[in-house]
Amino acid sequence: MTRHLSLLSTALLCPGPAQAEQARWDTFNGTLSASKFADVSSFTPDTVPRLERAWEVRTGDVSDGSGELPETVWSATPIYANGTLYLGTPFYRILALDPATGAERWSYDSQSTLETLTQPALKNRGVAYWESGATGPCEKRVYLGTMDAALHAVDADTGTPCAEFGENGVLNVNQWNETNAVFPFSLLQPPTIVGDTILIGWSGMDWEYTVEPPGNLMAVDARTGNLLWDTGFIPAELIPRTGTANIWSSMSADPDLGLVYVPVSSPSPNYWGGNRLEGIPLATSTTAVDIATGEVVWSFQHIRHDIWDYDTPSAPTLVDIRRDGGTVPALVQTTKQGLIFVLDRRTGEPLFPIEERPVPPSDAEGERAAETQPFAAVPPPTVPVEEMPDVWGLSDTLSLGECSKDRETHRYEGLFTPPSVEGTFLWPGTAGANNWGGAAVDPRSGILYVNSSRVVQVLRLIPREDYEREVHDATNGSIEGGNEAGFHAQEGSPYGIELYEWTNSLGLPCWEPPFGTFSAYDLASGERLYEVPFGLTQRWGFYGMRGWGSPTLGGPVVTAGGVVFIGASMDSRVRALDAATGQEVWSDIVAAPSVSIPAVFTHEGVDYVVFTAGGNSILKPQVADQVVAYRLGSP
C-alpha cells in the first residue's frame, strides 16, 4: 500500500507537459547536489518511445589497445552550459559542440602524454565549467584534467587557454605532490567548482604500493589557480607508512551550508592493512569540508580499516527528506558494499539506525581486521549483503561441479570476510554493488533511483616470496602482464594479490543471476519500492536472458516527467525506464556500453538527452568514441 501511495505521489507531483526546463547541466552529476534530477517534463513514459536521434558525433579519441596507444575508457558526462555542450575525451582534448546539431564549435588539445601513468587505460570523466558573471575573455571557462596532473583552463567561447590560470592556462597540480610521490596526481575526474573555488581530488594506484601519496583535497582559485587550502585525510604519523585515502570520484556541495561532501577512498595498499593498524578515521568515508577554509566539519566512516578496496565511489546525493512533519537536509551515500547511508548533511548524523555488527577476523600475517563494521538495514541494501548468491546450477552443471567445489574451497563468512591466502569470496566485488554513477533522486517525491551490480570475485593473498613466480607462471613469463591477469604487487607489504571474477572454465559466472538490478527507494520511510533486473549481459554477441540483468557502470538521471535515462548495461544499449515501475519503455543501441551519466537539458526550447558511449573493459572489451543526442520526434 505504501508503495502504491509513494508511486501515486510521484505521479501527482509530475507537472503538466512542456512547462519545466533544464537550463543547465553543468557538472559531472548535472548539478552540485548530485541529485541527477532534470526538470524536464516532456520526457514521459508515454512520449519517450518517440525519441529519435538528433545527431551523433564520433570524437576519434578511442583506442582498443591493439596498436601503439593504450586502451581508452570514457565515462564523460556531457556538460551543457553557455548554450554549448562540452566534453572531455580520453586523449585529453576538449570538444565544444552545438547542442542542436552536434557541429563542432571549437576543440582544444591539451597535448598531454597518452601514457597510462597510473591507470590500466587512458581515462576521462569529462570537464568542469565556471563562469564569473562578468563578460569578456575567460570570464567563462572550461577545465580539463589530465593523467599527468595538469589542469587546463580555456575560454568557454573560443577554446583559447586562459593565461592568468596557472602558467599560460595550465596548472601543474603535481607541484603539491610532495610526499611519497611514487606516481603523479592523475586528474581523471573533473574537479568540482563552487563559486570561485575549484576543488580537486586525484586518482592513483593503491593496489601497487604500500607507501603512496597521502590523500588530500585541494582548493584553488578559479581565476588564477593559486592554492587556497589543502586538506589531508591521513594522520601525519601514518603518512610514512601508507597513502591514498584520496578522492578519485565526484563530489557534491551545498553552497548554502558552505560545505563540500567528498567521497574519501581506502588507504594503501588495498587488501592488506598491517601498516595502518591504528586506523585512519577519515578513510573510506563521506566527509564534509568547509569550502572557505578546508576544515573538516564532520566525517562518517563507512568501513573501519578497509582491506577490501570498498572505497567511497560516488558523490553523495543531496536531498531534503520528509521527517516528523518537516524536512531534513539529507545526504544519501551509495557504496561499493551495497549499503545505503542516509545522513543529516549538516552534522553527519544518521537518519536511519546504523548497527555495528561483529565481522570475521583476519588470519593474514601482520593483519588485524576491525572487530565490527557499520550496517544500515534501512534503506535495505542495494544487493543482498547478508549472504552471497548461491552457486548457479546451470554454470555448475556445465562445468561438472567446478563452482560447487570452489564454494567449499574459498573463504566466505559474510560481508567483510578478510582477504586470505586460500582465497576469499569478495561479495560484492571491488567494482562495487554501486560505483561512480551513484544514485538519482527526485527532490519532489524523495524517491531514490539506483542501478546495482551483483558480481562475485575471488581475492587471494599471495605471500611475497611466491608472488613473482606465480605471476611468471600465470603470464608465461611476462611480469608486466600481471595486472591484466589480475595480479597486483602491493609492494612493501607481505602479500601481493590475485583478483578475478568467480567463473567456471567456460567463462560462465558461478553465482546465480540476476547480475544487475535497478531499484527505487522512498527516502522518507526507507522502504524499497521496487527492484527489477536491469540490462542485458552479452558475450560473443549472444545476449543473456532478461531476468539475469547485467552488471552496470555509470549512473541514472531521473526527469520531472517520470522517466529514468540510463546506459550502464553491458549490452551497449541506452534506455529509458518508467520511474514508477523500473520497466523499460525505450532503448537504442549505441557503439559501446555507455558507462557514464547522461546529460538532460533544454536548448532553445527543445529537450535533449545526450549519452556518451565509451565502454569499459570491466564490463566487456568494447570501446568507442560516440556521443549521441536524442530528442522527441513528432507524435
Binding site: 560473443w540 549472444f542 545476449y543 549490452d571 551497449s572
Partner: protein, 112 residues
Amino acid sequence: MLQFSALLLALAGVGLAGYAWLAEGTGVTGTPGALLALIGAVAALAGLAILARTPLTDRHRRLVLALSVLAALLTAVAGWFLMQDALAIVMALLGLSILVIAARPLRRTAVR
C-alpha cells in the same frame, strides 16, 4: 515450389546474418556470435543448393537434409540469442520448410 521457397528463405537468412555481422548498430556487429550465425545460414543455403543441383543417393539426401535442418534451426536459436528477430524467424521457417521437404516422398527418377 517448396524447395524454391526454401532457397529464398535461406538467401534471406544469409542476407540478414550478414547484415547483423557487418552493419553498424545491430548490437552484434563483428561479434563471433554473429559470424557463427552467418556461417550457419550459409551452411543451410549450401545444403539446399546441393539438394537442388546435385543427384544424391537416398542416404546422402537424408544426410544433407538433416544437416541443413540442423544448420537452420541452430541459426534460428543463435538469431534469437543475438536479438536478431527477423533472422530467427526466417531460419525457423527455413528449418520447418526443410523438414516438410524431407517428409515428402521422393521421385525416384534422378538417381540410378
